[in-house]
């Protein structure tokens, strides 16, 4: 693979850009791989990348039903933060955030990581106390966050209305090192690096069945024929339940659409990410000038990548209260992604009842920020067969044993 660099741009500019290579190969599947990863979203590709990079696994395929990065990886609002309450969450999300800082250099692919800062508004007394508690917890966890007052909020976000009609802004939890990244580039960068390592990325290939013998996984049936494997990693977000059923077990997961929308592009008005959990809306501005807006999750199960209309209304209403300046903006696009929600709103990175079959799912409404850390922890689990320190607390058995990682208060609303 030829590296991307300033020199490469100059070279290609001089010869009419005829020399760029395809970013990744599209090979036909082999008969057998040491490891198969189902799902070429961010988490699946990151798992494949760190299996190669950290554990030396080379005979690996990533199988994708649609196109890579076409699910939730390309549908989220690209927020990266690690200000969680519980220690296991803070550990994996902070690992992830720190990997994002150098990911462009690591992958030789510009993922446009922009540590512009994330503000989580406190608009009730309860929220003030909640975020103060989180800031204290973060201090103990080594995650740099700070509880700030309304004047500082106004300084960071001049377009905000502090005295909202329903909920005034009483302060905020500020993580200066949080921010955004280009979501497609994360998938493309990992895919390019995986392909360069010799991993096969097989798109347009749907898994239709999982084969096993004596309780050990032996391969998968796909629309491109049957493929054998030594180990299998299921990393498919919203469709985890469907794959788990093929593998013969069930998951504590329910799937529902989560919506997002973007406005028409305007001049820069906001240079941080703002999340308003009480009124329920969150907002940042993309480099193109569009306001990227995250909305709500449907309250009932669904697999339509669309969502209920009233959630759009709720979200927009909340944002207009908080940022009156945007009230005349037209919205360009709206879409949904299928999120997999667990009972404690924390992910599952786990062995399964089927031998050599591993599952990484349950990231719910906040998976994008976790991509590098999740891939890192999952690769460790798949390579060694037992979870490492990052994944240890996120096992499936926690639901049976009552060891929840309860983030539904800390992060149940917005991501």
């Amino acid at each position: 693979m030829r590296r991307y660099s300033a020199f490469a741009i100059a070279r290609e500019a001089a010869r009419h850009h005829q020399g760029w290579e395809k970013a990744w190969r599209s090979p036909a599947p082999k008969d057998r791989y040491d490891v198969i990863v189902i799902g070429a979203g961010g988490h699946g590709l990151a798992t494949a990348y760190y299996l190669g990079k950290n554990h030396g696994i080379r005979n690996l395929a990533v199988i994708e039903k649609g196109w890579l990065g076409g699910g939730n990886t390309g549908r989220n609002t690209t927020i990266i933060r690690s200000n969680y309450l519980q220690d296991p969450s803070a550990a994996i999300f902070e690992k992830s955030r720190s990997l994002y800082e150098t990911l462009s250099q690591d992958l030789n692919y510009n993922i446009m990581f922009s540590p512009r800062g994330v503000l989580m508004l406190a608009q009730t007394e309860h929220e003030v106390r909640g975020w103060q508690r989180t800031a204290q917890a973060n201090r103990l966890q080594g995650v740099e966050t700070q509880f700030i007052g309304p004047e500082k909020v106004k300084e960071l976000v001049p377009i905000i209305r502090l005295e909202g009609p329903r909920y005034p802004v009483l302060g905020a939890l500020w993580q200066a090192r949080g921010g955004t990244a280009r979501h497609d580039a994360v998938a493309w960068g990992y895919a390019r690096a995986c392909s360069d390592m010799g991993h096969d990325i097989i798109q347009q290939c749907e898994v239709t069945g999982i084969r096993s013998e004596n309780g050990q996984v032996t391969g998968v049936e796909t629309t491109k024929g049957s493929i054998g494997c030594g180990k299998l990693a299921i990393v498919v977000a919203g469709h985890s339940g469907v794959l788990a059923e093929m593998a013969g077990f069930r998951l504590p997961i329910e799937s529902a659409p989560l919506q997002a929308l973007v406005s028409e592009p305007i001049k820069p008005v906001i240079d941080v990410v703002v999340m308003a959990n009480t009124v329920h809306g969150y907002l940042s501005q993309s480099d193109k000038g569009e306001l990227v807006i995250g909305g709500g999750t449907d309250g009932y199960n669904g697999y339509t990548q669309r969502g209920s209309f009233q959630h759009v209304e709720e979200t927009v209403r909340a944002l207009i209260e908080t940022f009156p300046i945007i009230s005349r903006l037209r919205m360009l696009r709206q879409w949904g992604g299928i999120v997999d929600m667990t009972g404690d709103r924390s992910p599952i990175i786990s062995t399964t009842p089927l031998g050599n079959c591993f599952v990484n799912c349950g990231w719910g409404t906040g998976g994008f920020k976790a991509i590098p850390g999740s891939g890192w922890a999952m690769a460790d689990l798949v390579a060694k067969g037992t979870p490492g320190p990052l994944a240890a607390e996120f096992g499936l058995n926690r639901f049976r044993e009552g060891r929840f990682i309860d983030e539904s208060v800390a992060a149940g609303v917005a991501h």
Binding site: H239, G241, V242, R250, L251, P252, I253, E254, S255, G299, Y300, N301, G302, Y303, T304, S308, F309, Q310, T342, G343, F399, R400, E401
Partner: protein
């Protein structure tokens, strides 16, 4: 927006009038049951890509609970029925059969 006929008061209710109540016909487990069945009752769900039997409450109307059969992919409502049953009644199953043909 989903429209569900409340079998209790007969009103064709809009989604915003209703509160979703999750998967229907769960077998309730109490004290003394083993860990696996208790986990299954509390957390493990069918989560089907297709017909889902679920509970709804007509919260902004008559306030009563009922059941619905709905396709989670097409959002097609295949029928609503009483909350006082432990499994989908025959006519709902027949309707699903007929539409799936």
């Amino acid at each position: 927006m989903l429209l569900l006929r409340c079998p209790n008061c007969g009103i064709e209710a809009e989604e915003t009038e209703l509160t979703p109540g999750g998967e229907a016909h769960l077998k309730r487990e109490g004290p003394g049951s083993d860990e696996v069945s208790f986990e299954s009752y509390l957390f493990t769900r069918q989560n089907p890509r297709g017909v889902h039997f679920e509970r709804w409450r007509h919260a902004q109307g008559c306030g009563k609970w009922f059941h619905a059969a709905r396709d989670t992919v097409t959002m097609e409502v295949l029928g609503t029925y009483s909350a006082q049953v432990t499994e989908p009644p025959a006519e709902i199953r027949a309707e699903i059969e007929r539409r799936r043909g």
